[in-house]
Amino acid sequence: MGTQKYTLMVVDDEENIRWLYKEELEEEGYSIVAAASGEEALQKLPEVNPDLVVMDIKMPGISGVDTLVKIKEIDKNIPVILCSAYGDYKQDFTTWASDAYVVKAASLDELKKAIREVLEKRYPGKGK
């Protein structure tokens, strides 16, 4: 793997979750930028220019789905993984634009797997 780390933006209104994701994903070798809301994410997006966005759906203010649409308007090449406690959004047309959908679980294995797959797909041959 090259020296360059993937930069991931984690968007979740819950601080504990943000912290957990940050710790866990940094352990996986990603550099993490956290945002507490959709607005914050959109605001930080040009500056951070993340390789991937992991975002909750149910958030105060702009919802994850709306934020996803806006992100794609800014740069449709940025992959977004939606991560929610609701399983029923999984096949929902509102989330079609996302690159992956992960149901929140105590174990983060599924999320990590999804991140790996999306990155591999988006930047083939470039990853670790």
């Binding site: 957990l20 609701y86 174990s107």
Partner: protein, 804 residues
Amino acid sequence: MDCRQKYDILTKIVEISSSTSQINDRLTQAAHFLCVKDLAPTIAFYLLQRRGRRLTLRIAADSAGSLQLPAPPYSYKLPIPDDPVCKPLTTLLPNPLDPETINANDLFRKPQPHGWSLPLADENQAYGAMVLLSSTPFNIDNDTILFLLVVCRQITLALRSSILKNRDQQKVRRLKFLHQIGAQLNASENVQSAFSKLPDSALTFFSDSASILHIFASDQSQEKLIEQGFCDAEQHELVLQVSRYQATRTKFISHPLVIEKHNSPPAAIIYQHFFNQFCAHIILPLISQGRLVGAIEFFLTDKPRSRDLLPLEKEDLELLEILAVHLAATLERTRAQNQLSAANQASLLRTQQLTFSHQIKNALLAADTPEKIIRLTLGALVSNEGFTSSPALYLEFQEKDDSWQGLYYASASNRALTNPDQQPESNHLNTLTDHLLEANSQIPQKLSEELKALWLPSLNTAPSRFQQAVVGRKPTIIPAEFVTVIHAKLKSLLPGPKIVVIPILSQDHLKGLMLANADYISREDLAYITLFTDAAALALDNTKLYQRLQSSLASLNSAQLRLSQSEKLMALGEMASSIAHEIKNPLVSIAGFARRLHKRIPDQSREKAYSQIITKEIERLEEIVNNVLSFSRPESNKFEPHDLNLLIDETTALFARELKKLKISLEVQLTSEMAAVECDGNQLKQVLINLFNNSIQAMSSTANGNEHRISVRTSCFCDLKRQEERALIEIEDNGKGIQEQFIHDIFNPFFTTKHDGTGLGLPICHRIILNHLGDIRIHNREGKGVMVSISLPFDHKAPPKPTV
């Protein structure tokens, strides 16, 4: 002969005339007396026969002892004087003793006898002659002749009075006889007994002549010959022939007919033979309402048994005619009585039957199961009021494979066997029902086995007569060979030559067949049987309706219950789901950090163990939350072809360690012919995991000493109902099973028997399998284990949207 002598003779004759009433005695005395008085060596009296025109030697006296008389009847022809005036008989004959007229050789040993004949006659009638005979010629002067004529006159008088007396006596006898007959006829109950008295009476009527009596009553083809003593086989035959001959000619006679030799049909040879032995054939027609209903025949023999035989006169015939009218009336009366009593009996029987059928109908209406109805009908069929002693059996149509199975057998003797003391006629409904049920409840072992063996795959191969009877849907009598050929057992169960086939219908569908021996069943009875079967069909419909009503009421009740429950559940589900979501976020944090904590704590420290517990418990908590969520908001299905065997292998692999730990053996039989099943693999796996978990828990909570075992099998089968090929998964354990009382609740959400269960495991499985258009069934053996079978279609086309 002097005056004194003449006086003596006359006095004696008068004395004799008044002394005794018997003609023979008088004549004997007179002959002897005259003999003694030396009138002639031999004196004989000839009397005119009854019906013939002959003189017959009746009495003779012989002083010289030279006379050898032939035995009576000895007769010679005598021209009857047309002139009624009294004349000496000599004047009527060419010669006082004309050898042409009287063959003296017949009378005497010595030829050429000599004698005088004097008439015994009055102004009206000739009775006979007194003959003076001698072997040597002798002369009698005119005075003596005149005197002898006076004597003859006196004897004639005595003769006449005697005859008249006899005739009176006979008339009295005959009248008495008629009276007796009339009384007997009135008293007798039937023709047979009335006629049985006739011969004795007839003998009285004809007083002395031998009579043979022949009676026939035309309409009852009752022909009877009543003989009185004198009839040998030859005579018998003769009598019958004459009777038959005459019967053809006297069909329409209305009055008594007397056939004697002189008026017999000249062409009839049979009569010529007849009159060699008989003297008369008397036919009395019995006429009632202008119709010849019979006849009585008398055959009178020609052998007079008494000297006092008197000719049959017109009056006698009239008497006989009265008798005939009497007899005809009796015949008619008894016949009418017979008909009336027969009609009475028939109507009584019908009334009984109707009453009985009414009772049966009531009993049938009270019966609540089809089985009871069939057995009641069968019992009624063989009961006394039904058709005694005809055994009957019932074949039931088996819808599942179109076959016929012998179910019940009943016979009257069977009932008598089980219940010898009880009176068959019982008006009490309960006892009647019990009684009829008893007729087929205790059939002998052998019969019941034969009945069980009575299984017909179909009636298609049965004779067409039998099939017609079945299709006709009405009780039909057909010869037994058309029925018994269907199955060998039928022959021994129904041994009679005729069998009635009674289709039992319920809602226009053939439910079964009753077969009974129909030897005693008339066509009229078929209508009566129809009463039973119609009532049975009605009762069957009623029970069906009733059962359906009950079951629909029950299902309505349970549906209502479920509806209200599911409303509650829905509300509960909504709430649970929103709570679960709220829980989930903190749970993710807790789980994440707990795991991180766990990683950082050094091994073999107490803290490591604590955090281990926290992690485990959080996993359980998450599972609960996920169950709640997936039940209230099920995930959409992702159908792809999956190898079921592979799914099972993956699932069992998950449990391998746990099973080993709990010493549960696993038995897996996977069919190699399993094609790919279009399904959501994850969901199916979830189902399998759930079921495995249940089984393991059911077994780990029991310690019955047996080896615990889980068997997993897969197979393919053809679902006939849906007409498609299906995959089948069976998971069987030998754990404690499910308590029967819970079996209906196990698919209800939030129902659980485990202290730490969510009550969502099986409901989720159920929903998943339903979404796959499959079937999940629990075969519970309480205390012995559970087998769960899941059937799935291979093709999954347009699954219905999962309902919330």
